[in-house]
Amino acid sequence: MKRRTLMKAFAAALLASSVHATGAMAEGTIRVGASAPKTGPLAGGSAVTYWPAIQLWVHDVNERGGIDVGGTKMKVELVEYDDRTSNEEAIKNIQRLATVDKVDFIIPPYGTGINLATAPLIAKYGYPHIAVTAVTDGVDEFAQRWPNSFWTLGTSTAFATTLVDLLKGMRDKGLINDKIAVVNVADAFGIELANAGKPAFKEAGFDIVYETSYPLTQQDFSPIIQAAKAAAPDSFVAFSYPGDTFGLTKEATIADLPVKAYYVGVATAFPAFAGANGPAAEGVLGAGGVDANSPAIKDFITRHTEVTGQAPDFWASSVQYASLEVLEQAITRAGSLDKQAVVDQVHNGEFDTVMGHWTFDGNIIRKFWTVGQWQGGVFHGVASTGIGGEVSPVVKSGWK
């Protein structure tokens, strides 16, 4: 009996939602599709960076009355799917968005791998593919292969080399010595960064006293921190992913790792990082950064928190939002929903975004933030590829 009611409720819910889905289409709206993880290994990151930024943008656009398309204001309607962090699922979702829902535009997925797996499809249907959460050295090649694709967050090599330059600058000022420990997570971003970073450190005259890599599923970091501590470097650099960024930092706090520069990779820019580590976060360097003093960013952080109920990260959240501003402005300039016309506008236009002025050079944003540092509860950008507005890095003084 119980079982049957459960089944009935389930069937009814399915029916109700399908009616709803078809009934919601209204004339004069722009349908924008998004597919990204809501579950699976990458869900933790997309829940901070991807979904809230989109939610805020849709809210902002509709509050303004919609996007101006050839003189009429069109509201935005979001169609969202969960790709469960799986390529097959993501490909199918994009196909569904393009051929069944027939959305007007697609917000590219979350994560390097899934962005690349879906790029051929998005290109096939001619949508502008303004990728954000994909950091790889192949961007020039991809931009050539898929002329509709645009890359905004940077290249792994730049993330590593600007870090090396930053530490070199600190060393030349006598703030740190040339002993350094470099560890990395054995996964795409971590390995690319380590491969670019280690030779650059050596070339800059650093002495790598401890180096190792650890698997993605690693949960216990005390052996790594203990070994690094034993090697007594002044700088500790970990090209890490979210889980290990937190894990390494907790261990470093406990071990009272006596370093003057401490860098951890992805997720250092998450507000949860400061929340979890309290005073220990002060002075921690990490991947990303924003110009936290700019009024546009300050305003973005306030509104993001108001509308979505959570603070944005200090890295890709604002870039994600900027990519959507680019889409919006390109649509208005094209004056139509024609995909190719919008792609052409993105190619050639200059855009006014929360990140400042953006122009695409060969489909790529060449100026991006690479290193940030927690200073006084805010993650300030301390190194970039020429954005301007960097603050000077400070020496890490203890963990309390």
Partner: protein, 321 residues
């Protein structure tokens, strides 16, 4: 070899016709429905290959992701230097070899240990692959750029499906198949009858592993970018087991009855409840387990029987637990 029976002939004709009909799908739609069809074909091949081994032996293998990933990586590593068909062959050999190694080490043990070991195998292989790549090459991600479209991949999967069915049918007719039926019914009896139980199981596991390896290789061009988390996604292993068990494993075509409805159900759920996929899939799943205790095949067989056209169950069927 004896000649085809009328029944076998009929099955072959129906099978070929179904396959030919399926092959026309890409001509009708090359968008979302084709992608859905590719996913169905993918899991149909994986589940059937899985059933080749797990059906008769009752061992639950969770190693699918390991073989699949090995196949994907073979293509990722070799796509720039070797022709694609050769890579498929290498993927088959690699998958088979790993299956052989694992089989020799664990198939003498009872079922539970095998489940756990295979569960970890994908993680293990993934860790070793990543470790080798980090220490001896420059990047973990590999690019696979080919001219294959979804339609090509779909046709390759259909061809592979045909191959799996034919292999399964040949095994059934062979001494190995006969041995497996006896082992499945009672291992002790089989051993007394002079059957090398362990060897038979290992061979079957290798065949299954080889097919799964090829499937991974075929799918690699679809991903464009091959990296360990997607190639060795443990979810693949689970979904294969679930779909095959829901379909039923007593016959070669039974998993198909699990794959088709469940790929579509999963798909509908994720389309209509993007924010509650997990919850809905979980509820649907529990409901199915309780409502269809013997899988979809069981339901179909019950229906056939109640309609009165029931033929008496074969020995093999009655022996199924």
């Amino acid at each position: 070899m004896n000649a085809f029976t009328a029944r076998e002939l009929r099955t072959a004709v129906i099978g070929a016709a179904a396959l030919a009909a399926a092959a026309l799908i890409p001509l009708a739609d090359d968008g979302y429905y084709l992608s859905l069809a590719v996913n169905i074909a993918l899991y149909a091949v994986l589940c059937t290959a899985w059933t080749l081994f797990s059906g008769p032996t009752h061992y639950i293998s969770l190693a699918t992701a390991a073989f699949f990933g090995i196949g994907t990586y073979t293509v990722g590593l070799g796509i720039d230097t070797l022709p694609f068909p050769l890579l498929l062959a290498i993927a088959a050999i690699a998958g088979g070899l790993i299956a052989g190694l694992v089989g020799v080490a664990t198939l003498r043990l009872s079922g539970v240990y095998f489940v756990i070991f295979t569960l970890g195998l994908a993680e293990l292989v993934r860790q070793i692959v990543t470790w080798l790549q980090t220490n001896f090459t420059n990047a973990v991600g590999l690019y696979v750029f080919t001219d294959f479209t979804e339609a090509h991949i779909f046709w390759m999967l259909l061809g592979l499906a045909a191959l799996v069915y034919v292999t399964g049918w040949l095994i059934n007719r062979s001494r190995l198949g006969f041995a497996m039926r006896i082992i499945g019914n009672d291992e002790t009896v089989a051993r007394h009858a002079g059957i090398d139980v362990a060897r038979s199981k290992v061979i079957l596991f290798m065949i299954s592993g080889a097919f799964i390896g090829i499937t991974g290789a075929v799918l690699a061009p679809r991903f464009a970018y091959v990296e360990p988390p997607s190639a060795f996604n443990p979810l693949i292993s689970f979904q294969v087991v679930i779909m095959a068990l829901l379909g039923g494993t007593s016959r070669l075509w039974a998993p198909l009855l699990g794959v088709i409805p469940f790929t579509i159900l999963f798909d509908q759920v994720s389309a209509h409840f993007p924010n509650h996929t997990s919850l809905m899939i979980g509820i649907a799943f529990m409901a199915v387990v309780y409502v269809l205790p013997r899988g979809v095949t069981g339901l179909v067989e019950d229906l056939v029987r109640t309609r009165g056209s029931g033929r008496p169950a074969t020995v093999a069927e009655r022996a199924q637990p």
